[in-house]
């Protein structure tokens, strides 16, 4: 069962929720899809057992064979190719590695070359299988890495927690694509409710069942809770705005492993999620 944890903005508590849920789930898998700034591994400190490079394919021009028909330039929907001074010019960072230009070139004047864009690291932290995607600095899209992250998971781990990147762009869509359930983490502010709305719209579009976790709860109004009520989103649990939790988090300590109180809070939260996932949609 795959559970994705997402939020409309960074710093809401996606990693807090997904790391702690994985920690109380027994044998489980934690996947860090926030490939631009993966931080789950800072908490788990896994023993890395495997590291694999992720490469994409980029077209390379053999100018001697090019007759200037421009088939490649006209085909590319991403405008990654231009035709200047009788030869195609490739813009690597615009290319989406679809391979179409290479297939279509009637002169076979294009071939593909691999370009490394990051790594996937596998390791263990107690009973948790930890998989981390890391995008190289300067690369435009983490999508190829996220695609690789979701493949070939160990059989023994029934519960998979997917720590998504913030927002609702392509990288998030790729992260939740195979999820059975989505947890939306939200802050108790107007801005937080606005961001909750963004991800709620996204998971609705993907027809994913979802529930919300209200983080940093204090007394007083909670615009995110209000949003959940308006949209009939199930509230799975509440995490208090607590300096003890903040201190543990700042020191990369997994609260559910170090504190009885938080072990209980996240166990209850996991139960609430599993009950929801089990419900017919």
């Amino acid at each position: 069962m795959k559970i994705a944890v997402l939020s409309g903005k960074g710093g809401t508590g996606k990693t807090l929720v997904s790391v702690n849920l994985a920690s109380v789930a027994g044998p489980s898998t934690y996947i860090d899809c926030d490939v631009e700034e993966p931080n789950g591994h800072l908490f788990f400190k896994p023993n890395v057992v495997r590291s694999e490079k992720v490469a994409v394919k980029i077209p390379v021009v053999d100018a001697a064979h090019c007759t200037g028909c421009r088939t490649c330039v006209e085909f590319c929907q991403y405008n990654a190719l231009a035709f200047i001074r009788n030869k195609p010019l490739v813009f690597e960072e615009v290319c989406h590695s679809c391979g179409g230009c290479v297939l279509l070139c009637p002169q076979k004047a294009l071939h593909e070359q691999e370009k490394n864009i990051g790594v996937v690291e596998d390791g263990y932290s107690g009973e948790v299988f930890v998989r981390t995607g890391m995008l190289n600095t300067g690369e435009v899209s983490g999508v190829p890495i996220i695609r690789k992250l979701q493949r070939e998971l160990p059989d023994e781990t029934k519960t998979v927690l997917i720590d998504c990147p913030p927002g609702s762009a392509c990288v998030v869509m790729e992260s939740i694509k195979d999820a059975d359930y989505c947890i939306l983490v939200a802050e108790p502010t107007i801005f937080g409710a606005q961001n909750l709305g963004m991800v709620h719209e996204l998971v609705t579009l993907f027809k994913k069942p979802c529930g919300a976790v209200l983080n940093k709860c204090q007394s007083g109004d909670n615009p995110s809770e209000q949003y959940c009520c308006e949209k009939s989103i199930r509230i799975l649990g509440r995490i208090p705005f607590d300096s003890e939790l903040g201190a543990m988090n700042s020191n990369a300590i997994i609260a559910a492993r170090a504190s009885g109180k938080y072990h209980q809070l996240f166990t209850e939260l996991l139960d609430a999620v599993l009950t929801e996932v089990g419900k017919p949609t």
């Binding site: 590319c76 405008n79 990654a80 231009a82 200047i84 010019l89 813009f91 960072e93």
Partner: protein
Amino acid sequence: MKIAIPVDENSLNTGVCISFGRAPYFMVFDTDTKKGESYVNSAAESQGGAGVKAAQSIVDAGADILLTPRCGDNAVEVFKAAGIKLYKTKDGSAMDNIEAFLAGNLLLLTESHPGFHGHGG
């Protein structure tokens, strides 16, 4: 000599468009005939790579010079490869800028910005 310029409207009195890749039209002014002609920038609607596609159209239009307030890295690379020189526009209409260029009053555009890649501008 042909001078290209991103413009807001399909008319001779048009202002200069603040964006290059996403400008609605390009005007190409021919200094031999003293005539300016505009065409629709089909790159404006592109999801990505608008700068590359727009720059390609400027190259294909046979321009020697581009006058623009700013320009992205990718488009600049296309212009470099094609040998097209970029000059920075000043306040005023497209024609004001063409005249300013011909009088030698525009400076070379030396800065380019990274692409927005769908993250907005």
